[in-house]
Symmetry: C2
């Protein structure tokens, strides 16, 4: 009844020596196919799993990961870094280190340079990536060098990165669209979109999804041309003010990226806060306040703690050659309203 517990038991069951079991387990050469089968059968028969701790201890490798993140005050990115900090003990107990490298991710050459610097120096890299040929090439160089690479928040699907930790931004935009549409409650009017830049892949995808849903399901809502606030508060505020002044029939507002403080300020000072359905992204101190005060109606969010942990777990699993629990690592699109604020 009780399954054999160690490699020794498997060896006995298969009628081979420990050495041969080891060879099979690690795909080392020099074992006849027939013998391989016998060993694998024995393992399968007793549902054998190597003892994870023993295996890790025997390897006794420490691993070095690097997180390449944007410079500047983007609250969401800072949250990810904060959560990374909370993982320090967990990682230390597993002899892992994670260095954060900040860089201007909007400049492909700079970003690619930072990535190239890491070639041969780390076991794994998580990078908030710009989708650009030189970045793609740098990622591929890293992969070539044996490092494991995950993209974080923003993907570079055409690269050879091993994994993407982040949400489907088209679906996120669609979700925002559905919320604005439904919350508008059948009324007719215009909807404003404030984005950082349509050149950013994630922003562009969100806008695409948003517009898609409004066009398909909420014909009574007309989408205004996208305003680009560059994720900056002042610029966003200015543009928002202008939009509100020009259009008195705005009943919905989708803030695609950051710059939320500016948007909210303009909206509040117009006196139309609460009446205009306002949907934005990410749960920060600010959006939390706006949700509670009723200025903002919903925030689309990806959990920064989950993303930090997932990136580390995935890099570790990749480095160890362990399987990835895909369901665990999938980042969900969270809809956050006042009543389910985390």
């Amino acid at each position: 009844m009780n399954a054999p517990l160690t490699l020794r038991d498997i060896a006995r069951q298969a009628g081979v020596s420990l050495a041969t079991v080891d060879r099979v387990l690690h795909n080392r050469p020099g074992v006849r196919p027939d013998t391989v089968r016998r060993v694998k059968d024995a393992m399968a028969r007793s549902a054998f799993q190597p003892h994870a701790a023993a295996s890790e201890l025997a390897r006794a490798r420490s691993r070095r990961f690097a997180f390449v993140m944007p410079l500047g005050g983007n609250p969401f990115m800072q949250q990810i870094q904060a959560h990374l900090g909370e993982l320090a003990n967990w990682m230390a107990a597993r002899r892992l280190t994670a260095d954060v490298v900040t860089t201007d991710v909007f400049d492909p050459a700079v970003l690619a340079g930072k990535l190239e610097d890491l070639v041969g120096r780390v076991d794994g890299v998580a990078v908030v990536a710009l989708d650009h040929p030189s970045v793609r090439a740098a990622i591929n160089d890293l992969v070539e060098s044996g490092a494991k690479v995950v993209t974080l928040v923003s993907d570079v699907p055409s690269s050879r990165r091993h994994h993407y930790v982040g949400i489907d931004n088209i679906a996120a935009g669609r979700t925002a669209g559905a919320l604005v549409g439904r919350f508008a409650g059948g009324k007719t009017g215009r909807v404003a979109i404030m984005a950082g830049s349509q050149g950013l892949r994630d922003h562009a995808e969100r806008i695409f999804g948003f517009s898609q849903v409004l066009a398909a399901e909420f014909r009574q809502l007309e989408v205004l041309p996208v305003a680009e606030g560059h994720d900056a508060d002042d610029r966003s505020e200015h543009l928002m003010r202008k939009l509100l002044a020009e259009h008195h029939d705005i009943i919905g507002l989708y803030n695609v990226g950051a710059g939320t403080a500016g948007v909210a300020k303009a909206l509040t000072e117009s006196g139309r806060a609460g009446d205009i359905v306002f949907v934005g992204h990410d749960v920060t101190a600010l959006t939390r306040k706006l949700l509670l005060s009723g200025v903002m109606h919903a925030a689309i969010s990806q959990n920064p703690g989950h993303e930090a942990r997932s990136a580390v777990r995935v890099l570790l699993a990749l480095a160890r050659g362990e399987p990835i629990l895909s369901e665990q690592e999938a980042i969900r699109i969270d809809i956050v309203m006042r009543d389910n604020l985390p």
Copy 2:
């Protein structure tokens, strides 16, 4: 710069022997307070963390957990069990086993009996608990016996359980209320509530939160008396049919528990599906279909995979005396619409 890596290094730094470091690390008696301090200082100074794998290997204990779950076809509970099954390899590699014990959780005596049976036989228990004195006593007996206990989905706050894996059901109800209220778009009318039973703690809490929000923020919506479908499809269908026939001004519907198939059937056959805002719970094959077809507008959900993994992780951490990553283990209230279906 590089931190010492092993207990040996700590011993050297503190000027004591390995044995003394071991005594301090495990709070064993027979060490002078002064010596304890020196050792702890040395650990702190170099931010020492014992190697997790080595520690686990040296203990070399296998642990037995039990999951006490409801009998019957509740899809959500089945999902949790399925996800538990997916963890089998992960657990096996850590020499953990999780036995699922099904029982009639609606009968306090039966449930308490099952729990008492486990006293002294397991290292940890996760239980979908009924909040009843005899169940509480059984939980306390388990804790007394040294087992770690987490409540799952439904809590027993007054017991000595170590942890609760599940959502805040009042907040979940409030969230449902906000969604129904907003989706109704300012229209006036009645809102129906279908629950399993108001005797179930989680259902009662959800109804409380739901009613709270509607009363406070959506005065134009009048809540009808709660119908109790006992989480059964046929009974729910019958009650729903009756409600729809009696009230032609129903514009919102909140399905608090299971029995969704019956509710949806009655709603669809009334020809009013899509017009009546329908919010329910949990993402199952059925609710997924209903969301996609537009019959259901939103589902409040707690991630069953997350709950299964969290229960196991928390039990393991408790058993090992490791800290719990509270942010990781918090179960979020997910709002799921057609566009962010996982």
